[in-house]
Symmetry: C2
Subunit: 329 residues, 2 copies
């Protein structure tokens, strides 16, 4: 295993500590139990809280800040955070208007966030994200997996919360965005979990995993490597089959790298995807290209489409000020 | 070779086209000859122009925009751009105050920018960056290589240019930043150039290349893989030996990934580096962590230290509005 680490058991705390030190103007790290929250506690708004296994950076800690999350709970690599983390984070950031959990649909995360919710002394609600159209049920999931589309839910709901909207409105918008968002990914290599020390799965030099999950879970099938245009067409066809957009739909296109794929290739995928969509009457009105919801060092990428309406687009465009997404102020 | 590409000959134009489409609010792409410039031409300032081989994204195109570059000329992968690109870009962005070229010290880039400069009908000057302390002279270089510190030169000089400073002042500040900046990198894997189709160099499962160049050029020596803390200590010792900071120096610390290394590891390196520096009386006052000056899909990272003074720090903090760096407005 070739990674920049010291002891395997220290990877998470050392990485979180570096993250918090590098972004001390924006975030604060609390240890035992671990959570990241805004450096300045927000007042008089619904507290938006997410979390999940580590190894997907910048998700979720990179999205803590104005216009997005109030706190994020990092579990160990590819392992759910625990209810005590969520409770401590919620108590730190709740500001009199209740707490909304945004949770990717994996069995462990769902169970632990539910346990925390039962113990919360505040009004609370949960949005489960399930944007991965690749498979129903998977290694760690009953139902569809929540993947890169989760960051769109976090951005849009985070913006609404800043306006002073109530808990029910934040939950409703999050569920709307999730319904209108679909993702699918493809892996060219496996990731390597530090504690395992070897690749999660084997993949041949001419193979790819179509529909891979963000923990290296199996997707739809093992396929032959082929040109980017063909891959993009297959991914987008799956997304449109799920979303069934109206003619003249407008979309946000997210081209997300899994951590080991360079920007040069991600922009090439964006070029192919935008052309493919234009030929089918889907206008890409907003876009984001980069490594945002990663799988450690996996080479690969996912495409996410969110069908925009005026409300979602306005909240996407609204100012955000976090370590990993920053615009508008 | 497992990459998201179509035909090898089309990689550059497809990737540039995707980049320009995804950031149409900030940049505009011109083809034949190829360059990227700001979507809105700046007026009444020195035009800051850079460029170099592709494969280092987001350098340089990702730094085109307010507060940084006016234009960038992308060559083919790891190949210098040609003088006609630089001339066309300079003519497009010159605004009556002259043109400053910021050029990484590689023989091909230096030669081609010199040829362009001789033909330029404007006042012009050049800053050569040479921050890589690993080796004197290398595969493509006479003298030290210009690497990740180049982005600090581009940011700081770009900010000064926005104030209306003249060409000589911009050049002088660029040279000062270059003198106060040192970098060294380490590779865990090779990169794979698309046109070559196989890794640039072989490296064993327990080896690393200490002092690697950003094209996979040899560094100081092949060494055994070891913990991150030890690597960071070796890299920083080399930087301090070069910079010889005064006691109580203040620094900008850039932890730069080479494209195949995830954020989790980069933040772990940052944590190790900030601690090591604090123990030696160097205060990290500013920082940047991410994949900024990459080598295609190479796994690895470099550390860059820039010794701050009030002038450099103020220009680092000044607003910047580019695809890859954005803060302050």
């Amino acid at each position: 295993m070739k990674k920049f680490i010291n002891a395997v058991d220290d990877v998470l705390v050392e990485s979180l500590s570096g993250f918090a030190a590098a972004h001390a103007d924006l975030v604060r790290l609390q240890l035992d139990p671990h959570y990241l929250c805004r450096a300045q506690k927000a007042q008089n708004k619904v507290a938006i809280l997410s979390g999940g296994g580590s190894g997907h950076e910048p998700l979720h800690g990179g999205f803590v800040g104005y216009g997005m999350l109030d706190a994020a709970c990092p579990g160990h690599v590819f392992t759910s955070p625990t209810p005590d983390q969520m409770l401590a984070a919620a108590e730190a950031v709740e500001a009199g208007r209740g707490v909304l959990f945004i949770v990717k649909n994996y069995a462990g995360d769902v169970m632990n966030f539910e346990m925390a919710a039962e113990l919360l002394p505040f009004d609370h609600a949960t949005v489960l994200t399930s944007d991965d159209v690749a498979v129903e049920d998977s290694t760690y999931t009953t139902g569809r997996r929540g993947v890169a589309g989760t960051l769109i839910v976090e951005k849009v709901v985070g913006s609404l919360a800043e306006t002073g909207a109530d808990l029910a409105a934040c939950q409703a918008l999050g569920e709307k965005v999730n319904r209108r968002t679909a993702s699918m990914g493809v892996a060219l290599s496996s990731c390597t979990v530090p504690a395992a020390g070897r690749p999660t799965f084997d993949i041949g030099p001419d193979e790819l995993e179509m529909g891979v999950g963000i923990h290296g879970e199996p997707g739809r099938r093992r396929e032959a490597l082929r040109p980017a245009d063909a891959l993009v067409g297959d991914l987008l066809a799956a997304l449109l089959e799920d979303l069934k957009p109206q003619p003249d739909s407008r979309a946000l296109l997210l081209v997300n790298g899994f951590g080991g794929t360079p920007l040069m290739e991600l922009y090439l995928l964006y070029h192919a995807a935008a052309r493919w969509l234009a030929e089918r009457g889907v206008a890409v009105e907003r876009s984001l290209v980069g490594n945002y919801v990663t799988s450690l060092d996996m080479a690969g990428a996912s495409l996410t489409l969110c069908l925009l309406d005026d409300e979602i687009r306005a909240h996407w465009d609204a100012p955000v000020h976090t370590p990993a997404l920053r615009w508008g102020r």
